[in-house]
Symmetry: D2
Subunit: 382 residues, 4 copies
């Protein structure tokens, strides 16, 4: 029976942001070791990264395809791969590892088209493989608490949703100046590499995913107005949402809102109360029950139970931060991988990570929003 795992990474050369987050999140869990990788297309960076992390020389691969094949062939091959490459490569890399029979954790977005998503889904199912898409924010304890309070009916039937994800980092793109201001923004604003969408695909999709995780509700249709401000892809989107149960909501996402750093704010309004969660103060959940004073629930306290309690790592009042949210996702995913390898049955908590269906839902949502935007904000089915 295994209780520790071996994993590989594609992408995540030294200095790359998201790769480090994944690696550190896995490190916090203390149950898996980095044993193989194809960290960079620049061979020097690739080697240097692998050596730095103590990866054996013959398991630092120059191509992900080779890595998938050779690791699959080893007896002590990796148990899963973390894919943290640029967005436009997720599909092909994921496909290679699924074909090789290796479980996959992939940074979002899953891919660029619904067809690609369905193909990956089919492949994973066929090969009996697990597939996580790391929509980070559902990993936070207090988001899990929100989900459970809503499930229990604490705020009644949901009647309205007001959610936003505002950032400021691309404000200098307004007007479409040739010179982009940050390295990161280069590929994000290049349609070839970022797909049909910039802002909605990058951050708007987190709104959809986090709301869906909390409420179980997906948009039936959307009506969106997009602003490109002279760039090829949108930097700002305001979106009306209609859910399957007939309730409505509004999602706003933007990368040009001065004063907002990583402002994901979710507010769920029900017939008996309301819930509000703010990513920049993630250890708190504002809960209002009709006719009562608003309450500030805090992570790690005695009155917080369920998954929020299970995923608590540090005493209350000591901020955990984003890396623990990632770690919580990896915890469930790695537990599921471990049990699958051991032939054990999965518990509900082992499934508490965003999976390929969530990934496909994200692709659908982005497409519907962009389509609506191009049709003068007509309602568009998701």
């Amino acid at each position: 029976m295994r209780n520790r795992l071996r994993y590989g990474m594609v992408g995540g050369g030294k200095g790359a942001f998201i790769g480090a987050v994944h690696r550190r999140a896995i490190a916090l869990e203390e149950t898996a070791e980095l044993t193989a990788g194809c960290f960079s297309s620049r061979e020097e960076v690739n080697k240097e990264t692998g050596r730095f992390y103590g990866v054996a020389e013959d398991r630092i691969y120059s191509s992900y395809a080779e890595m998938a094949q050779k690791e699959a062939a080893r007896e002590d091959g990796i148990d899963f791969v973390s894919i943290v490459t640029p967005n436009h490569t997720h599909y092909e890399v994921a496909k290679a590892f699924l074909e090789a029979g290796i479980h996959v954790a992939c940074e979002k977005p899953l891919c660029f088209t619904i067809e690609q998503g369905l193909e990956l889904e089919k492949l994973a199912e066929k090969n009996g493989l697990l597939f996580a898409v790391t929509y980070t924010y559902t990993g936070y304890s207090m988001v899990k608490l929100a989900r459970e309070l809503i499930e229990k009916g604490e705020i009644g039937e949901i009647v309205n949703v007001n959610a936003e994800y505002l950032q400021e980092w691309l404000i200098d793109e307004i007007g479409g100046g040739a010179q982009t201001t940050t390295k990161l923004s280069v590929w994000r604003t290049d349609p070839e590499k970022s797909g049909i969408s910039n802002c909605v695909g990058d951050i708007g999709t987190h709104i959809e995913d986090t709301v869906a995780y909390m409420t179980g509700m997906h948009p039936r249709r959307v009506a969106a107005v997009l602003d490109n401000y002279g760039m090829e892809l949108e930097l700002n989107a305001n979106i009306l949402v209609e859910y399957e149960n007939g309730a409505h909501g509004v999602y706003s996402c933007s990368q040009v809102c001065a004063g907002h750093l990583n402002g994901l704010v979710i507010r769920i309004f029900g017939s008996k109360g309301a819930i509000e969660w703010v990513q920049e103060a993630p250890d708190r959940l504002l809960v209002t029950k009709k006719g009562e004073a608003q309450q500030i629930y805090c992570r790690g306290t005695g009155y917080v139970s369920g998954r929020a309690s299970e995923t608590n790592h540090i005493p209350s009042g000591h901020p955990e931060g984003l890396t623990y949210a990632f770690a919580n996702i990896y915890h469930s995913f790695m537990s599921a991988v471990c049990k699958t390898i051991n032939g054990e049955a999965l518990e509900k908590e082992d499934r508490d990570y965003p999976n390929i269906h969530d990934g496909i839902q994200g692709v659908r949502f982005v497409k519907a929003v962009i389509d609506s935007g191009s049709m003068d904000s007509s309602w568009t089915e998701v």
Copy 2:
């Protein structure tokens, strides 16, 4: 030369909320006296109110029409009238006083149809009369500061607006229960008395007015989705907005959002910065300049100048509250009335009150939103 005024009131019998606010706002200004009134259709309340405030017996009128005529005929007649009756009577009462040649301050909404609004406008112009519509929130000092900072270009060109006005007080109406929960809600949810709209007409219109005051921008068209939750009129509205300059925004208003008491929040995003104002903390204005830390501007401080400084009444850190916002509106209006009577020219600050054009704009906005809502959220011209 006059420096004090006489005013009359229609509505505002003892115990009525909005009448007291108007009376107290005028009292804070210390420059006008209540000298006539038709306070209630219940004669006893009418008499009792008038006597309580020291109004002479023969100037406590049983009908507003009689009041308009008799006051107009007196040499020491009232200089202006405050109309604080239920919404559906604003038009007729205002008309009577305009016809009698008396300046008017009228609680919002101005009236129910655009035609009525245009008629009142014409009448006021013909008779050389001033007409205030008391959209309260533009009276706050920090809203005036926002306006001036935006005028000066401190946040650049406006590219996005995100504004909301959320309340919780009608949450029990969800499901359309026959029994309404509060006295106030009775007429507000009765289409005969509240017109074509409930929530948008009551509070959504404040969003439009406050944003317009701050930015000078009016919506060119709107796309709205409304929720009635089983009632005759809407309790919730999410609205996409397109301004004349092509920028977009989103307005949300609701009376069923638990945890929100009087949550008017205005956020204006520009190409060089952003401004945020929250009605429940009205003495602060959040100002972010691109590339700098967010700043919390406070009322009454040395670095605040212009109209915000002129309309400051109490030292910084000592909350002024809503009544002073009302007082600021009355201050400008009464100053304008006084100068008009004296034959003096009006300064810019004398015109710093919401007038009949703002009132008409409000009626147009509400109609467009309701029309869009009834046409499956089609873009509708304002």
Copy 3:
């Protein structure tokens, strides 16, 4: 039976801050009229102020002594006087009106020595007169709620108090520069006119009074460290407090804390919970019950009852501000005056204003703190 009152004012010439606050607070209550006054030692200002407020020519007095005598002699003389003169004159002015048999509302501090206070107290008792000392902050609804929750035992036995009153407006006095920065600061930093204390007498005393109002607890002894920063009187004080029940606390007051405008913050910790109130957000009260999430109680809501509900004036979410706190104090005081005149018995709510005993307690507290400061922070009995 009287239901309206006549009042006079000493001090409060046009442009004076605190006089206007008193006048407006009384105006909000709508039950008393300004009918006499000695508004300024500058005759022109005195006359102009009196005329502006419609005071009859023969009741605009050049001296407060004359005013006290003449008003006492009239059949329609004033029912009470509001004293809003500089601090060093409170004692003599109050004495004159008490001797004339007129009820007194006096701005704080009551006087400069305990002996003066006891003399005024005796005089008031002898003549059967009411005496309010306008410690503003106990007038706020949510302070009243704090008092009632504590009285009911909601936070158990009080074990610790942490309170502060921080301002920034005298920061330029640091170093004792000859030139003072504001007009207001001139007399406040002049020992002849401000007594033995600057900062503690001006604002520290509000901490003592507000805590005492909330908890019923007065300091038994204090140990204080004072900072003058080169000025004659202190600008900053940190004070250890021991209450009669043996519990301890700490009070900090300062006029040199950048970023703090009028930062009165009271935190009461008990064996079963805690309460926090912040003057700059006065409509909220933070209540924590042991083992539960912190709650944000808001003024004007359905779950707030008792005096906090009785003293509510505007719907929840619409900020009331400082003037209403003042009005609440005047409401109780004027109700008590009215009933006393009518020979009616006083109810508990009629006594809900800071009285001469609170004023004397303030004088005692300031003296003990200053004494302790001058004895290297030795514990000093209050």
Copy 4:
């Protein structure tokens, strides 16, 4: 030249809180491996923990003394040890490793008496060893920013400090009930194991250390009032502070303040401005410059430079949390260890960790506070 390190751990058996924090903080840095340990006095836990982390069987030691000797004797022995045992054992464990010539990182408090501290200091110096005492909070980026802004004179000369560290977790100890409520509280309230102090030694010392780090100022003397509420050691302390430059301040620490989880709040007031930092929102620093609006500096933004920028790990708006603060401390310490081993000179940033002098200062501070408390709050030299 080494660029990776080997470390051992004493204490930190599976399930122990603080050991996991240290391990994870080191893991985030990605430059050291756990290669030896004596994790628990319970042999089973010791073995299980070592195996779980992949420590070789012969390097899982039953006694720390054996570990120190054997590791010192190996060529591939550990480079440093992390001591995360109960407080009363820190001294002896640290001594053993220093004697063996191994660098030490020790959880606070360093030890229980000043003599012990000085002995360890002498030993470290003699053997040329580095010694970190993990006062966590100085590891936060924004605390580093505060230090640099103050060093640069941005807030002028410091004139007042107001700092607190409030928790609620021992509120049930009030009254001295025999049954303690949590496992953690057992040894903390046992004088044999926790030394002369509970609350001040546990959290009050963090106030002293964090303020000293930010300002460079240490207390010259203190006057403290302590509350035991029926327990053997104090649960609450209010402390007047006088610094070497004559400025004053107040420190409050408590474990019985309902509503406060881990409420370390530091406010530094200077002649030109002020700085405020709140541990529960660690990515922000409130900065006020005299005469200007308060600013909210955020971690990871373009306008933040120096050490705060160097120690930034995740993009702004994505909360880093406590573990990164720990990691920053380990980063400097491990860099210093690495360079020392390599014979390289240390840079300023390599010394940016709390060292043995800070540890001794903490012991001195706690002793002075407790002494003052036992002498009726007399001023006591630190």
